[in-house]
Amino acid sequence: MAFSTEQAQAQLQKRHRKSLYFARFCAFITWSSVFLLAVLLMQISIDGFGWLDWQFLDSFPSRFPERAGIKSALVGTLWLILMIAVISVPVGISAALYLEEFAGKGRLAKVIEVNVANLSGVPSIVYGILGLAIFVRFFALERSLVSGALTMSLLVLPTIIIASREAIKTVPMSIRYAALSLGATRWQTTWSHVLPASFPGIMTGVILALSRAIGETAPLIMIGALTFVAFLPQSPMDEFTALPIQIYNWVSRPQQEFHQLAAAGIIVLLIVLLLMNATAIYIRSKTEQRLK
């Protein structure tokens, strides 16, 4: 034998130790970020929890902190999520299906692919400027919910397309071949097999994208969403505000009470976010079960 058993033993123990150190290092990194998040949430809860009541949810903003509420912002955000989803999900999934299933590997597909990847890295304020120029001014949609939703849809489309494409890629070719060899058209194959099999992955991407959208402030401020709205939008053409804008507005006030209101607003935003994620996980597990 090339080396004695004691040597081998010592070497083995060294390797085990290394492995242990690395595991501890990873655990430390993981838990420290969780700890930071917990501290943040604690701070916000301490500040905002006292203000969180039905009156807060059911009131419009006010000069007086004790009468101020988040109703218009919450309703505005719900409108926005819904409209963004309606616009960006069908467009995003269609684009992903086209690129993966129909476009082939030509030069055009390559150009689109690179551009989509680049777009996902563009700062959100740039989308705000774009929205202002195109939707607000050129299409004269004013500072309406539609303008906001369209701008936000542009912002999240690259994320949805990239995530959907990844999900579609994981569907094995053998499934497509099976369907095609039975006399199915491309579309029948895609609709009946590729889409259902990639649905859980697509849902994950969609929820990530929508979560990003409801947290974004810059594009909305850019297109001129209002910061003080004492009415509810009645139609997609109405002016609006959203949770992050309201929070931003309260934080920038000098009075301590408004800072606490902002904390309460953040809690509401987080709850909306968690509810969305929970829905996504529910839908995903439902569809995955059906497939297995």
């Binding site: 082939g104 590997k105 094995p172 053998s174 499934i175 497509r176 071949y177 099976a178 369907a179 095609l180 060899s181 039975l182 006399g183 199915a184 058209t185 029948q188 009946s192 097999h193 099999a197 497939l291 297995k292």
Partner: protein
């Protein structure tokens, strides 16, 4: 067996030969201009099993996939020559490849059931093709033909992915049979299966022969010798020899064929 007897036998066979279902005329398949199959000519006879054997990469799977236009989905593939199916060139103008695949079914190397129920695996393709008869009957008939009915009749609505590998492959055969194809192409259908499942499928092929025309690509020479009526031996894209299976395995005309079937290379 004396040579006189066997020559009489082959003359008898020639007299009773069924008509050709597929007639390959100088078929070449090229991958971005590079030939993978070179000028192959042969006839696939009705209600017979034709085996294609040869070493890895000899083009046998490529040739098989060109018989139902599955090569259309591979980038850069082009076909030369003619493949006549019912007197019509499969690659002729105005031929709808979807229609071709409906009439010439395929079973793949690895079982590839849809991640759906056993029932829906069978029923999907007839459904989208406008089958109007009783779907329950069709499912039962197809599964029976694939010798799977008895094993799965009580769990038709369970996922097909819970079946064993051999059962999955028979389900794939049943799925292809449900379309009532004229020809069934099989690309090494047993290579991912254990010997018992393989024996199952071989028995099944014997039964199916009376109703279908089967072309099977196989790595396994014993399998070709056991189940096929005709054998094509390919090497480097060339069809070296095509003939009666008995003749190919006992009295091959070409030296390369003899070397391959006796296991001296490959």
């Amino acid at each position: 067996m004396s040579s006189q007897e066997s020559s009489e036998q082959s003359r008898d066979k020639a007299k009773n030969q069924p008509p050709a279902v597929l007639d390959l005329q100088a078929v070449s398949v090229l991958y971005s201009g590079k030939p993978a199959v070179k000028k192959v000519s042969c006839q696939i006879l009705r209600n017979r099993i034709t085996a294609i054997i040869g070493p890895s990469g000899c083009g046998k799977s490529t040739l098989l996939r060109s018989l139902n236009r599955m090569n259309d989905f591979v980038d850069g593939v082009s076909i030369e020559g003619k493949i006549l199916f019912a007197d019509q060139d499969l690659y002729g103008k105005g031929v709808d490849p979807v229609e071709v695949r409906r009439r010439i079914g395929m079973v793949f190397q690895k079982p590839n059931p849809f991640p759906k129920s056993i029932y829906n695996n069978i029923a999907w393709a007839p459904g989208i093709n406008g089958y109007s008869g009783s779907m329950d009957e069709l499912v039962e008939r197809s599964l029976s033909q694939a010798a799977l009915w008895e094993e799965v009749k009580d769990r038709l609505h369970e996922s097909a992915l819970n079946l064993s590998g051999g059962q999955q492959q028979r389900l794939c055969i049943a799925r292809a049979l449900a379309m009532e194809p004229q020809v069934l192409l099989m690309d090494e259908p047993c290579s991912a299966l254990d010997p018992i499942s393989t024996a199952h499928i071989e028995d099944l092929l014997f039964e199916l022969k009376s109703r279908y025309t089967i072309v099977i690509v196989t790595h396994n020479m014993q399998q070709a010798a056991r189940i096929s009526d005709f054998t094509a031996f390919m090497e480097m894209g060339d069809l070296i020899e095509f003939g009666d299976t008995d003749q190919i395995f006992t009295r091959p005309l070409k030296k390369r064929t003899e070397e391959y079937v006796t296991g001296r290379f490959g």
